[in-house]
Every structure is written in structure tokens, then in C-alpha cells.
Symmetry: C2
């Protein structure tokens, strides 16, 4: 259980035993802190390995619960790290892995954050949660709220992919479409929270979605050790992360710091790579300009709905992580990232989300420029399942065979 | 690695070192056998628990590989067993669990079978596989073939759910729609195998899809022990299984026998419950009539595409399992099973497939009749993700808020 909640910008401490959103002084995100020194005795890699818990809650000691039994859980986390086959363009990489976050409840990494946030919100008395979403966060919020037995209000841009809307409607959330962007939805959530007393679950506007997502960083250290058949935890050389709100990136960086304080790893860190869409790249632009904060990206558009975040609350933390890690940031066009999805599917057997397609194309690009070495240990994050993006791949014109025609197979092999 | 392949009906042995389909003498399914006595020393529950393998291949000793490194794997298996919250109609059950197979590559339990079958087919030289599918098997075959780097031919009824068709097309399989039922597709596959030398991956027509699916039974023994915080493996009192081809049911029953021979469990067995759709219930009808084999079910129809199997190759084995286990068989209407999906979603936070909805409604029904006791340990199998059945839940008429109207939230809370 966390022992502190501190503003990431001004350092102000906030009470841990009540519902919190942004810093009450400066409006920036709060970060949870733990008594890591006290945990060093009992919370060891070996202890974690012995736990039967098949979810991210095997790291309960650094999550907002006193005991794993308090978790609102649907089995999130403990996703596989798959080594990619050396085939097609993938053959140029000697040590390329994908952390496949499709193996989560509601089919995306958003489950980790919502599990942690809903767990803590409910423990502190929240009865209704609300958030804006243009994609996978909607379903995750709906289903974790249902698991906890609380109510959920969702505000979604009317052009949100149908799969995201349907799963939330089936789940019985109060779904409202909005004739605007996710930022417009966010304003309505803020207004609704003030007016109706909902708890705001918007990303980084409460402190625990990041705590859930940081478990990707913890798991990775075990996954890489397993892949190397080693006992000592280890991190990859480079992590490619598709970046919308950036909570996962920030969360993993926090996890690495915590692991070092726990004595699990040394000071070494992966180079972090932010991948955004060509037409929605606020963090890439700020990184290239050497800025500390990102400007709102006007007329943002991309089929990768998880990347369509024109302004992120945690922009300044991401930019800090990129520089501290000697990382980089780049964009991928929609046409390229859809090619990436097809290559993942046909050459690896993984139906990745467009965001996953983007990081793969980004890795190819950085190998060409020499920024990556072919033998480096590289992890791509596929943040969700391609199944939620079927609308991007309309099929039609498939041959229909007449099974009563004895020659109907003649057309099958050319 | 298996040491024998024996016909489930006539007992004839077949060579293990070459590709096999049905029994060459009587045309019935072959079952793989292992030298379980020799495995007793090293293949123990504790040894399994210590393995880092995060997939069903932690049971590699009883799968068709010499070593786990040979497996064609995408991270299948090790799905969570979730205890259901006591809420709504679920409150009447004291020990109700769901084994959530949505946590598999391609979003369904079909991944387990295909992982094992493709692994062995490729090891024995298959370059092209083919199968009929009206649902989730198509995507699983596509993606495991891609993972292995071989070709896949699919024959699907033209009314197959769009999600199943799209994922296979994105995966680059050779997809052919057919103006008929899955049995018509199966005939075309058979003809194509003869004509073009494809390897037939149809369920139970090769020996290893069942081997992959049996891992559900192995895992369940560990899951139930974990849920009871016990070391000794244990099985539930009752298992509800949505039954199309029935490979999972047959596979689990085989797993229990193997576990007993390994000394892991005693002779106790769960009562097995077959759940089928009202308008496609060949096994239920045969069970009720006391028959040894099921008749083809005419005019089969149900929205639960996994249950739309009018004639199953393994019918006689399923009927044997039902009787040996003191189990039962019942049907659920399409309207009821969709209600079951909604109840799972809204009351548990699980977007189940229609087949999962069906087993939940079946459990309710058998509690009412007294066949189930409220305190029995009951496991429902949710065989796949609801995300692949979005077409069953068309949404429309959702409110669209005009975010430029300052009063637009007035309609939100009634």
C-alpha cells in the first residue's frame, strides 16, 4: 500500500486516505509513493515468483491495496512476452520481442490502469465514476466498474470505433456520444463531476491508473529474465511504446525506479521510444523542439484511436523520461501503421492493434537510421487486440463457393 | 511426447512419427497416449509450479513435443479462473467460478487446440493446412499457421460472423465462403486434402487439437487448488461446457484420467454438463434418448456459432463422458443465452461469448431443478471473447451531446 501521494510538478503532499484527483495547488498529476526500504525484506523477486496470483496483483505490495484480496480484478496483467520470428523484415532483428497486451480483460492494456484505479476509488467510497474515452479505456472502465458494482458514465467522440462503443453499451455503462474531440468530452466529464459528484477517472487525473500500468515495467523485468533463462531480473535495451496519454510510459519508468530502490535492478535503463501518429504527434513535436511541455496538436487525426490524444496531462513527464533515457520520438503514418498490423498478422501470427503496428514500423525505421543495432534487445508494446479494429479492414468480394457444384474447388488453387 | 496413437473406437494403434487423421480402419478419432508411469518422477505438480513457462506448454510432458522450445506458441493457455461475485442471480451460488478462455491468442479456447495441432503437423512436415470453420477455429488456425510459417485454407459458411472472417482475411489465410453449412465446408476440405495434399486440421480428424484443449483440465486442477489456497490439486464438483464439436469436454476428461495415472488426483471426477443451443442440440437429444451416438440435427441454427455443429465426430465419446461422470445435458434458447451475456457483462464485468452466456443460464436452470446444490464448486467455461460477437448487439439511437451547448448535461442524469 502506498504511503504518500505527491505532485509530480510542485512536490506538494496529499492525503492518501481520501479520493484525490490532480494536485490541489498546481493542477498537475499526483504520484503514489511506497515505503520501499521496508519492503526490501519480504518483497523480493523470488517471493514474487512463488506467488500463485495469476495477474498483475502479484505486485500488490506496490499497488494501492493492503492485501490482494481487496483488488477489483478480472485477471489483468501477466501478459506474454513473445519472441518474434525472424521472417520478412523481422529477420533483420536478432532480439526482438513483443509484450502482447491483448491478453487483458477487455482486450487492452487499459485494464491494468482501471483495475488499480477502480480498486482504490471503491475502497475510498466512490459510487459513480466518469471518464472521456475515444477507445479502449471506455470498455475497461465499464467492466471494472461492473466488477466492483458501481456506476460508470462515459463520454465518447461520436466517431469512436464501433467495437469500443458496443462493448460499453453491452456492459450497461451510461454512454454519451459527443460531437467533438476527446478534449471536449473531458470538459463535459469535469463539469459532470462538479455537478453530480462523479469521481473523475480520466487518465493521470487520478493517481492510480498509472500505478496499474507500471506493472508492465515490473513484468518486463521478469519476462526478460525468463527469456534469457536467467534468475537475475533484466531490462531490454530499448522499449517502443505507442504514446497517446503516455500513462504506460510514465508508469514503466516509475516501476524501474522503484525496482532499483528495492534492490532488484541497478541504475541501467532502457532507451524509451515514443511512437505517435503522423497527424497527432504533440510529444514528438515537443521532443524535436527541445520543449519541456507539448502544445495542443491542432486537427488531430489517426485511425489509431489510442494515439489520438492531442494534449496529454503528463506531457512534461514523458519529455523528461525521453531525455533521461537517451530515448527518441518519431511518427508513423496511418498507411504505414496499417501495413504494420498486416505484417504482424501474416508474419508473426499476432493480430495487433494499429498502435502495435505503429511501433513495429517505428523499429524498422530506427534500424535503418542506425539508431538501433540489430543485436539489441528490443521490446515492442502491442497495447491491445486487433479485434477491436476490425472496422479498419472491411472485407468484401471474397469468393463464395457453391458446394453443390462438384467442380467448385477448381478455382481454389491457381 | 506421446508414445502411442490409438483409435478411440476400435483400439487400433497408429504410427506416431507420421501425419495421421482418423483411424485408418474405422474412421473414428485417434487419441494420443503417454508413458505416464515414466513421467511420475519428474512431472509433478510442484515441478509444474516452478516452471517459468507462461502458457499451456508448462504441461509439455503430456503434449506432442519433446521440448517446450519446439512449440508453435503465441502464449495460449494459463487463463484465469475468476470467482464470480454474488450479485443478481449469481448470488444464489456460493462457489461459482468462470474459466475465462477469452484470454487466449485470437480470443478463444480454439487457440489451445491449434497450437498443439500446428506444432505437431509442422514437426511432421505439413506445409499447408485446411479446415472448415463457422467461427473461432478459423482465426486460430490462421494465426498459428502464420506463426509456424505455413499456409492455411479455410472454408466458412457465408453467414459466419464478420469478426471471424475479417481476422482470417487480415491474417492472409486463403478464405473461401461456402453457400452451405459447416458440414458442407468439411466435405470441401476433405476433397481439397485429397486433391491438393493439404493436411486436414478439422476438429477430432487429427489427434492433437484435443491434446491442446485437454490443458484446460490440467489447469483447472491447479486453479481450484489456488482458489482454495491449497497445495493438493483438486477438481470442481461440476463443470459446465458449451458443446459444439466437444473437443474440450473430451480433452478435459482425458486430462483427468492422465492426472490420476500420474498420481496427481484420485478417482473422483466432476459431473460434466453439456450445454447446447435449443435449435442445435444433437448431443442433448441423444443423451435424453439414451443413445450411444447422435443423429445429425436438421436445420441447425443458433447465434452461438460455436454451438452450431449439427453432427460431431466425437459424439460417442461425449455421451460416454456424460454417463461416466453422472453428468447431464440441456439446451438454452438464443434469447436466453444473449440474456446470459448481458448478465455476465453488467453483473460480473465479463464480456462473454454467447456460448459463455449459455452455460451461465444452464447453471441457473439446474439450480432451480435441484440438480445443483448452492454450495457446490461449479466451473463455467467461457470459451471466448464477446468482442467477436459485437454483431449480435447493434447499437443505435445513443444520445449525441452538443458540447458547445452549456446545458447539454441536463439530459444526462434523469
Amino acid at each position: 500500500m502506498h504511503t504518500s501521494l505527491t505532485c509530480a510538478a510542485c512536490g506538494l503532499d496529499h492525503a492518501v486516505d481520501q479520493l484525490q484527483n490532480l494536485c490541489t495547488a498546481c493542477g498537475k498529476p499526483l504520484l503514489a509513493g511506497y515505503d520501499l526500504a521496508a519492503l526490501r525484506e519480504t518483497f523480493t523477486p523470488d517471493a514474487v515468483r512463488r506467488r500463485a496470483t495469476r495477474s498483475m496483483w502479484r505486485f500488490a505490495d506496490v499497488l494501492p491495496v493492503d492485501d490482494v484480496s481487496e483488488a477489483v480484478s478480472l485477471g489483468e496483467g501477466q501478459t506474454p512476452l513473445l519472441r518474434l520470428e525472424r521472417r520478412g523484415a523481422f529477420a533483420e532483428f536478432e532480439n526482438l520481442f513483443v509484450k502482447d497486451e491483448a491478453f487483458n480483460p477487455t482486450g487492452s492494456f487499459k485494464a491494468r490502469g482501471m483495475a488499480a484505479a477502480v480498486t482504490r476509488a471503491v475502497a475510498l467510497g466512490a459510487k459513480v465514476v466518469a471518464l472521456p474515452s475515444a477507445g479502449n479505456a471506455a470498455g475497461a472502465a465499464t467492466y471494472y466498474a461492473n466488477r466492483a458494482g458501481i456506476e460508470c458514465f462515459l463520454f465518447m467522440p461520436e466517431d469512436t470505433p464501433p467495437a469500443n462503443i458496443i462493448e460499453s453499451v453491452v456492459g450497461g455503462a451510461n454512454v454519451f456520444l459527443v460531437n467533438g474531440l476527446i478534449s471536449d468530452c473531458g470538459k463535459l466529464v469535469k463539469q459532470g463531476c462538479e455537478q453530480f459528484g462523479w469521481f473523475d477517472l480520466s487518465t493521470l487525473k487520478e493517481p492510480f491508473r498509472i500505478e496499474g500500468k507500471k506493472t508492465m515495467g515490473y513484468e518486463l523485468a521478469f519476462d526478460m529474465a525468463d527469456a534469457a533463462q536467467a534468475t537475475q531480473l533484466q531490462l531490454p535495451d530499448v522499449i517502443f511504446y505507442p504514446t497517446g496519454g503516455g500513462t504506460g510510459l510514465i508508469g514503466m519508468w516509475k516501476a524501474f525506479d522503484e525496482m532499483q530502490q528495492l534492490g532488484w535492478i541497478g541504475p541501467e535503463r532502457p532507451r524509451m521510444v515514443v511512437v505517435q501518429a503522423e497527424n497527432c504527434a504533440p510529444v514528438v513535436r515537443a521532443f524535436e523542439q527541445g520543449a519541456d511541455h507539448a502544445e495542443m496538436f491542432a486537427n488531430a487525426s489517426t485511425v489509431a484511436s489510442g494515439l489520438r490524444v492531442p494534449a496529454a496531462v503528463g506531457d512534461f513527464i514523458m519529455l523528461r523520461v525521453l531525455r533521461e533515457s537517451n530515448g527518441t520520438a518519431l511518427t508513423i503514418s496511418d498507411a504505414e501503421l496499417l501495413d504494420g498490423v498486416r505484417e504482424f498478422a501474416t508474419q508473426q501470427g499476432i493480430y495487433a492493434c494499429p498502435e502495435g503496428g505503429a511501433v513495429w514500423k517505428a523499429a524498422q525505421q530506427l534500424l535503418k537510421t542506425g539508431w538501433l543495432k540489430p543485436d539489441e534487445k528490443i521490446v515492442l508494446f502491442n497495447t491491445g487486440s486487433g479485434l477491436k479494429y476490425n472496422h479498419l479492414f472491411p472485407v468484401g468480394g471474397l469468393p463464395v463457393l457453391d458446394h453443390t457444384d462438384p467442380d467448385c474447388l477448381d478455382c481454389v488453387v491457381g
